[in-house]
């Protein structure tokens, strides 16, 4: 049962093969039994889940069920959930019980979904390995000595280890796609503004975007149907219609034009990953696609630009965590300055502090033009690169990451090496474009991801392309050993 997709589970619920309560109890029991190996959940919400499942069963019995009614999912612990600890994997918010729901959580609740719990992540979504979590690192189900990627490492590991059929994630520089690739699952970062950010604790406001992490492209479409839409509480959300993301899944790929950026296949990239990616491209050619080499000449600049813009926004976004109204407050502050310094000094971990310092520096008087403004100029160049290429091809493809999952601790003392792992994913966030990662092979027993990039609001196209690949291959059906 645990290998079933959302679509399959939905069918099972509808036909009465099992109830939502039975399904939920099974998953809760599995999390309890198995997650000690992976540490993919920060909180398991048994009571809430069973309550939601019972309500879903009533709806199903009454014939009022929607597609999502009774389906269990997990939320990355960056999404505020009413009455539940929402920690962002930080000591700073270890005691924070959110009094409200994020829009995404509200939407899933209204759709009848069951919340199994809150998944592990890098602290405040800052990291590519899930090692910066206050609750300890999450482990890759394919090899528990390895990282699951980050920052949505808990969501990726939980789906991969079949502790939940699907989970929400958030992606600021690759935080959905990179862990999806490293854990062998499907992850979609929608176009910036497609999914409301309200209640998704901000890391870098102009880059953050929530999205689905699932077993298949079809499931990602089902999830996005629930998540997407304009929200008047998020001024940056897109005020445009939400299509049915499952509608185009079965379209054939005849004549699909694929662009392969030469910059994505050069430099420090694992040779096996490059080969796996090429093999996947061959598969698309068999499905009727045409391929041509393209160029995104400013790709290399995306890392420095990103590591100015994201920390700059973060340094301001994280100012609210001051020990005054909620969250961690130091013991016995002697005065206001002491309260600030120690609450923030003790409440934030080293990676978060590093980014706050970098961001504050980049915004400070005298440096603003040289850093922040320059980074914004680069951002425009990167966007223009993509716009130009996407006027010539339908989708861009390449590897999601340059390497497979690395060992826990391997890169934690070298932040820049860690940052380099996001080289292929960051640029999409800077441009605001949608991107997916789907499994396309394994290297030394570890999964690798194929990244598919589309034009603004072309999620339907991405899902169609991914689904057709998954109909033709079975990389997405492979599971870690013993699962």
């Amino acid at each position: 049962m645990f290998d079933k997709t959302l679509a399959e589970l939905a069918a099972g619920l509808k036909t009465g093969q099992f109830s939502s309560v039975e399904l939920t109890q099974a998953y809760l029991a599995r999390i309890k039994a198995e997650d000690t190996k992976y540490n993919s959940f920060i909180s398991v919400t048994d009571d809430l889940a069973l309550e939601q499942a019972a309500a879903a069963d009533s709806l199903i019995a009454a014939g009022d069920a929607g597609t999502f009614t009774g389906l269990p999912i997990a939320h990355k612990d960056i999404f505020c959930t009413q009455g539940v600890r929402t920690s962002c994997a930080s000591k700073m918010l270890d005691n924070f019980i959110s009094p409200y729901n994020a829009t995404v959580v509200d939407k899933f609740n209204q759709a009848g979904a069951v919340t199994l719990g809150k998944t592990n992540m890098d602290e405040f979504a800052m990291g590519s390995s899930n090692e910066s979590s206050f609750y300890g690192p999450c482990k890759n189900p394919w090899n528990t000595d390895c990282v699951p990627g980050g920052s949505s490492g808990g969501s990726a590991a939980a789906v991969s280890a079949q502790l939940t059929p699907a989970a929400t994630g958030s992606d600021t520089g690759g935080s959905i796609r990179q862990p999806a690739a490293l854990c062998g699952i499907t992850g979609l970062k929608p176009t910036y503004g497609r999914v409301s950010r309200y209640g998704m604790i901000a890391f870098a406001s102009s880059l953050d975007q929530g999205g689905p992490m699932t077993k298949t492209a079809e499931d990602a479409a089902l999830m996005l149907n629930v998540m997407a839409g304009f929200d008047k509480r998020d001024s940056t959300s897109a005020d445009r219609d939400v299509p049915d993301y499952t509608a185009d899944l079965t379209k054939p790929l005849d004549g699909l034009r694929i662009g392969l950026p030469k910059e994505f296949f050069s430099g420090d990239i694992n040779a096996d990953i490059a080969a796996q990616t090429q093999a996947a491209i061959k598969e698309f050619e068999k499905l009727g696609a045409t391929v041509k080499e393209v160029s995104l000449p400013n790709t290399a600049l995306s890392i420095p630009a990103y590591y100015i813009i994201a920390p700059a926004e973060a340094s301001s976004n994280l100012s609210r965590f001051d020990g005054v109204r909620y969250g961690y407050r130091c013991e016995d502050p002697v005065d206001l300055e002491d309260l600030y310094k120690r609450s923030r000094g003790e409440g934030f971990g080293p990676e978060v502090k590093r980014r706050i310092l970098v961001g504050a520096y980049a915004l400070s008087e005298g440096f603003y033009d040289a850093y922040y403004n320059k980074a914004q100029q680069i951002r425009r160049l990167i966007r223009d690169d993509f716009t130009k290429v996407l006027s010539e091809v339908d989708v861009i493809m390449g590897p999601t990451t340059p390497h497979p999952a690395f060992k826990i601790g391997e890169k934690s003392s070298d932040p820049v090496a860690m940052y380099m792992e996001d080289i292929f994913t960051l640029s999409l966030n800077l441009a605001g474009l949608p991107g997916m990662s789907i499994p396309c092979g394994t290297v030394d027993g570890l999964p690798t991801g194929l990244q598919i990039i589309g034009d603004y609001f072309a999620e339907q196209k991405l899902l169609n392309v991914a689904h057709q690949f998954q109909l033709a291959t079975d990389w997405h059906k492979q599971s870690p050993q013993g699962i």
Partner: protein, 484 residues
């Protein structure tokens, strides 16, 4: 040496929107602490601002009223600093692209001359909460009800040269924002407050002296006092061989002096950058024109109309048109009494006197415009004299009631019965023989003045109720009869 002051002002006007600039919480003043602060105002994790467009419309109205450039694309920026009453750790403001650009305001000085003061810019921003230092010994309370209240910060050019000019400018801005209906103008509640930038330089010198900024002054009188005091302090300092240090100062109304709050060296680096949670505000000519259509009459136009329509003097028209509430009050009375001059005299005289004495705003006047209009009607139709009217007005102020009710219950109706008046006149003539003899024997051109004595006696005998016009006529007739 002769010194010249240079003054520039930053005025914070709270915009009269019902809800906050970035959240749906109410902006009403005076609620229990923290009862009007929602998740967004508390800056709970994950919350985002949603811009209240009503604040934009109000800002554009102001921009049009001061003939300013309106920003077709304005952008919110974050001003980052830590303070407990600033929940997000940054204030959302507009630094680089304000909604209102360069404009101007004409002020009229007491000698009747006018002067044009430049408006550098006006931008939208959110107010902070309040820190309560006295209520909790050893601790600080935070009330976030005010956090997120929309402010329009109006920045002037350093065009003013005296406290008088500064106060005239502040009054004019106050008059504009209240007339536009975009600010309630309540200075004691902090809805309208002023930061004064003051420097001095030897007269004739082009370059500016070092300035100080005195923050958050919330009355016209304190603005004047603070500026006068700060100018004197700076001149004394320089003349004693010292130098002015650029600093932020606080005005202490109790001691009537400014004192240093922080120097420039301690100033924050606010790390301004465009707020990524809010889209730039883009507006077009149609939007601006539609707002232009809704502009109410502004003080300068109203003043001109008062001169034209009511034949008021320049001075009366200026005083009555400045405050739109006073102007509206005046117009009700002028129309009820059908005598603009009489209405003007009463509003600027008796009414203003009592309002000032009791420190009451005209909108809270215990005597309504309808009541006062009714009173003036009774002067006009000779039911009572102007003198009795003042008595009626005092009763009206303290006890309420219409003019007719008070006149009736206090028996103040003017005596216009000519028989009754003649009787009193006869008694006065009979009881004041020496004065009558003087009158009879006086030169004819001196008699006019002497009649005043008899007038006084008759009014006294009638307890002020006799119609003065009639008394005068009867007296003159009877006394002149004695001469012949």
């Amino acid at each position: 040496m002769e010194w010249e002051a240079v003054i520039g002002l930053e005025i914070h006007a709270q915009l009269a929107t019902k809800s906050k600039i970035f959240s749906g919480a109410s902006t009403a003043f005076g609620a229990e602490p923290n009862t009007q602060a929602c998740a967004v105002d508390l800056a709970l994790p994950g919350t985002l601002p949603a811009f209240n467009e009503e604040a934009l419309r109000m800002a554009v109205k102001f921009g049009l009223a001061v003939d300013a450039e309106i920003g077709r694309k304005s952008v919110f920026d974050r001003k980052n600093y830590f303070y407990p009453d600033l929940p997000k750790g940054y204030q959302t403001s507009q630094l680089f692209h304000p909604i209102v650009g360069i404009g101007h305001i004409d002020i009229t000085l007491e000698d009747g001359t006018t002067k044009r003061i430049g408006v550098t810019r006006a931008h939208l921003e959110e107010d902070a909460g309040k820190s309560l230092h006295d209520e909790f010994p050893g601790m600080t309370g935070i009330d976030l009800n005010r956090a997120g209240t929309p402010l329009l910060e109006i920045v002037s050019e350093p065009d003013m040269r005296s406290a008088e000019e500064a106060v005239a400018y502040v009054r004019k801005v106050h008059s504009l924002v209240t007339s536009l209906g975009i600010c309630d103008g309540n200075m004691s509640e902090g809805s309208f407050r002023c930061d004064c930038n003051v420097s001095v330089r030897p007269k004739g010198q082009e370059e500016y002296g070092t300035r100080t900024e005195t923050k958050n002054i919330n009355s016209f009188r304190f603005i004047e006092k603070a500026i006068v005091g700060e100018i004197e302090r700076q001149i004394d300092l320089i003349e004693d061989g010292g130098r002015v240090i650029q600093a932020t100062r606080l005005y202490d109304a109790d001691k009537n002096e400014t004192r240093s709050m922080r120097s420039k060296e301690e100033a924050n680096d606010y790390r301004y950058f465009p707020c990524p949670d809010l889209l730039p505000i883009v507006i077009d000519d149609d939007y601006i024109d539609a707002i232009r259509q809704t502009l109410p009459e502004l003080p300068d136009a109203r003043k001109a109309r008062f001169i034209e329509e009511y034949k008021l003097s320049e001075y009366d028209a200026m005083v009555l048109s400045a405050d739109h509430n006073m102007a509206a009050y005046f117009e009700v009375i002028a129309k009820t009494a059908k005598d603009a001059k009489l209405a003007a005299n009463w509003v600027m005289g008796e009414l203003s006197k009592l309002l000032n004495q009791h420190d009451i705003d005209i909108t809270n006047s215990p005597v309504s415009a309808e009541q006062l209009g009714g009173l003036l009607m009774r002067i006009k139709d000779d039911t009572i004299s102007g003198k009795i009217a003042k008595q009626v007005f005092e009763v009206m102020w303290s006890e309420g009631g219409s003019a007719d009710e008070i006149i009736e219950s206090k028996g103040l109706k003017q005596v216009t019965d000519s028989g009754a008046i003649e009787q009193i006149v006869d008694e006065v003539i009979a009881n004041n023989t020496p004065q009558v003899e003087q009158y009879v024997n006086a030169e004819p051109d001196k008699r006019g003045k002497m009649i005043g004595f008899f007038m006084g006696q008759v009014m006294k005998a009638s307890q002020g109720k006799a119609n003065p016009g009639q008394v005068q006529g009867v007296l003159k007739q009877k006394l002149d009869a004695l001469v012949n």
